[in-house]
């Protein structure tokens, strides 16, 4: 199998897009990635394949077959093109498919663009749309939503491991602090820990969304796009930037209905995906310098940090309390601000996580740089953990 690297990254500002179409949003990220790699647009561009990851383009934006549209928008014809939908893990899935296309020898150069324009519908409609990935009879028809499942999961974890609402807030504040140094982050305000946990008005400023999850334990709804340009490592010398190698990819699935899981406090697919990625890369959790974990709800960052092997089960919240997951700590998690503060445009998120790790390994993450980072891990979490993709990137020694 050929080795695969990333030679270009692009990322729009996450938040609310004002004006423009979904194709515009994707194009902005794509052009940034092409420019970053030094790819000339127009005839002779050399891109064999385009993958676009999105969950809601057909439903929210009334645009299906969006990859075909993007190829034409960018005049990359006749490049091959597919749209990839794997819930909130669509982005990492698209990168995995790009990896496979190059590793197999079918392609030399693949553009992956992930995006979502979710703020075109009401909050109620958006919540309903995201909930369509739940089990139709056992969950969706009851009115269960992603925040509801996260509330059920959080309650169990609190009961079993002693995690508190304040622990969730500590993780949120850490990610908001990191996002202050990320110009593409959706939210660039840091909540005060005392005000959202202990102040007499805390219940007003930080109300329950799905008990025991509060507003500041849940990610925002964002528009945004991110892009990466993948190439065969043996063809990488024709691009501007030195490649960051995709050293490992793992993916695993779990039961569709969350209640069917044997150990309800486990995120088994996270553990299995990470183990697969470590094995492929020939690395362990101790080798990872920086991680972007899927914190759509703050409980997920804590439990994922345990399932990928950074901390023992039941100790992730204690590590967060002790500052071990801050930049400068033992294992910095979500230096980008994570989904909590950078935002979570579903189809963009997996690509955005990889963009952040590429910037970290290149030494380009100004203001939030993890010094000396050479190896990074991403976890992109689909459904409520029923389809998870883990990716390991490494900086090759020169």
């Amino acid at each position: 199998m050929r080795e695969v690297g990333i030679v270009g990254v692009g990322h729009t500002k996450f938040g609310k897009m004002s004006g423009g179409t979904f194709s515009d949003l994707l194009s902005m990220a794509a052009i940034q990635a092409l420019d970053d790699a030094g790819v000339k647009t127009g005839i002779g561009h050399g891109i064999d394949q385009v993958f676009v990851s999105t969950m809601g383009a057909g439903i929210l934006n009334k645009q299906s077959g969006i990859a075909s549209a993007l190829v034409d928008y960018l005049n990359l014809r006749p490049a091959m093109a597919e749209t990839i939908e794997n819930g909130p893990a669509s982005g990492a899935s698209a990168i995995k498919l790009g990896y496979m296309a190059i590793a197999s020898g079918m392609c030399d150069c693949v553009l992956v663009v992930g995006g979502e324009m979710m703020r075109v519908v009401s909050g109620w409609e958006g919540t309903d749309f995201v909930a369509t990935m739940l089990h139709p009879e056992a969950e969706y028809n009851y009115g269960l939503t992603l925040p509801a499942l996260a509330g059920l999961f959080t309650k169990l974890c609190m009961d079993k491991y002693g995690i508190t609402e304040k622990d969730l807030a500590i993780v949120a504040v850490k990610n908001h602090e990191n996002a202050m140094h990320n110009p593409v982050a959706h939210i660039q305000v840091v909540p005060n820990l005392y005000c959202i946990t202990e102040d007499e008005d805390a219940n007003v400023m930080n109300p329950y969304v799905a008990e025991p999850l509060r507003l500041y334990s849940v990610c925002p709804v964002s528009d945004g796009a991110a892009a990466v340009l993948l190439c065969a490592m043996d063809k990488a010398d024709k691009f501007n930037k030195k490649p960051i190698k995709i050293a490992g990819i793992g993916q695993a699935t779990d039961t569709h209905a969350v209640a069917e899981r044997e150990v309800p406090t486990d995120l088994l697919a996270v553990r299995l995906a990470a183990q697969m990625a470590y094995k492929m890369a020939g690395l362990t959790a101790q080798d990872i310098d920086v991680a972007e974990l899927h914190d759509a709800f703050q409980i997920l960052e804590i439990v994922e940090s345990e399932e990928v092997g950074f901390f023992k089960r039941g100790e992730g919240h204690i590590a967060a309390r002790n500052g071990e997951t801050k930049i400068g700590g033992k294992i910095p998690i979500n230096p980008s601000g994570g989904l909590k503060a950078k935002g979570h445009p579903l189809g963009a998120t997996g690509v955005s996580q990889v963009v952040e790790i590429v910037k970290q390994l290149r030494g380009e993450a100004t203001g939030r740089q993890v010094e000396g980072a050479k190896t990074g891990l991403t976890v992109n979490f689909g459904g409520f953990g029923n389809n998870v993709v883990a990716t390991i990137l490494t900086k090759e020694e020169s």
Partner: protein
Amino acid sequence: MEHKMYAYKCTSCGTLHHPKHYVCKKCGNRKFDEVPLEGEVTLVTYTKVYNLPEGYMKPYLGFGIVKFTNGLVVSGQLEVECPEIGMKLMATVGVVKEGIGADYYGFIFK
């Protein structure tokens, strides 16, 4: 008309499933018998949700995951004022979502 909820019992090894699957998770068999799923349950976890999706005209809804005495664990709506993990409840069947033309029936734990 009385509405019932069912467990799906593998005709080969007897393993119970809910919701329905096409293949038994234990032995790979593809045939199941429907067995009524009702009675006493133990509350495994719960939540109260305030941002409901479109179609619900309520300020909040309670949800729970419960364990039946036969070992099956399922989710449903929860109508208990002060829930506590481990408490005993009854699994009833009622309208969990009003639909156009037909309502959806499911578990309501009380």
